[in-house]
Amino acid sequence: MTNEDGIPADDPSRDDAELERLLGAELRQAFPAEDLAPSPEQVALLRDHVASMRRRPARGRWRLLAAAAALLVAGAGIGVGATTWVGADDEDLLARGSEEFSAELTGPAGARVVIDGAAAPEGRIVTLRSDTLPVVPYEQFYELWFLTDEGGSTWVSAGTFHPDEEGNTVVVLHAAVDPSVVTDVQITREPRDGNPAPSGDLVARGTVDLID
């Protein structure tokens, strides 16, 4: 005997399927789809931007992001409270800071990572780029560290990241660190175990070059 999905009555997965069917329906009833729609202005602006992007060369398209988001929001008449982040793509963030330092990190397995740092009111904004960091499984991620010798060796984390599935990494991180006292910059591979301490699994390292 089978149920309507053709799952035999003695198949353990039948219980899972039944559970999913029942609770899935309950959830959809508990959270019904709202009848929301983008405004005509939002739709028109999106269409305009899509059309304008189509006229650009494939890799020359980069950059319309902030303008598009800002225009979409402005067109919708919303976003007054969102001026701190709407359109805040990587380039916008960098534009808010002043260029301060750079570093090239290399690793024993051939990884090469370039980072650029800018000083901003809220701290240092760090843009990290690489196409040579190996893709890591879900259970792992990379973490960028700034090492200083203030009060002994101190590791300041600038955040965690992972490459996309094609092995490309472009991330913007924030760090509360003064680059003038940084002695070393490292990227470690970290297990997803909740332990905030560096694992010691070094992937790449380098030093900071301050920009006059």
Binding site: D16, L19, E20, L23, G24, E26, L27, R28, Q29, A30, F31, P32, A33, E34, D35, L36, A37, P38, Q42, V43, L46, R47, H49, V50, A51, M53, R54, A58, R59, R61, W62, R63, L64, L65, A66, A68, A69, L72, V73, A76, I78, G79, G81, A82, W85, V86, G87, D89, Y138, G159, D164, E165
Partner: protein, 194 residues
Amino acid sequence: MRIIGSVEPGTSERDLLARFRALDPDAWETVYRRSYSRLVEYARRRLPGGYDPHDAVSECLARAVDRIDDLADHGVRVEAWLYGILRLVVLEQIRRSGRQERERPVADSPLGLVEVADERGPLEHVLRDEQVSSVRAAFERLSVDDQEVLWLRQVAELSVAEVAEVLKKGHGAVRQANFRALARLRTLIEEVDA
């Protein structure tokens, strides 16, 4: 027949994806309109307080336009890609807000009890509303990860492959996470109802 501002009815998902990738404004409008509500709801549930989910969706679409060259045909609907981008937008805001998790009280949610226009009597409405309240209360007690996988899989009705695309996990991991979250939800509903 052609509907102004959208692709023709009956267009397959694969065709729609191809046109989306080719920056066909009709395809973009179609996807934008059909996914708008659920994207806004997803953002609303996960964003820190003070952030507008409509803004997050606008940001998501703007990034999508700019990064269209990154969209590959993995055999899933384009919404999976958009959810993935929106998820990053939301995570950025969570990070900037300094909050690791967010629990929005049910009372704050515009997803309040919805008056359903049906033929049920008053008692049935009361019982239905009580059940809805139990499910919502139990859902709010789930971990953020459980909420996310259930929202994507059950509420937004993405396929396992699409959820895997959004969460960057394997299909098996998504299936397991989904069923474990469902089991925990069932337990929590029983606790709420007790």
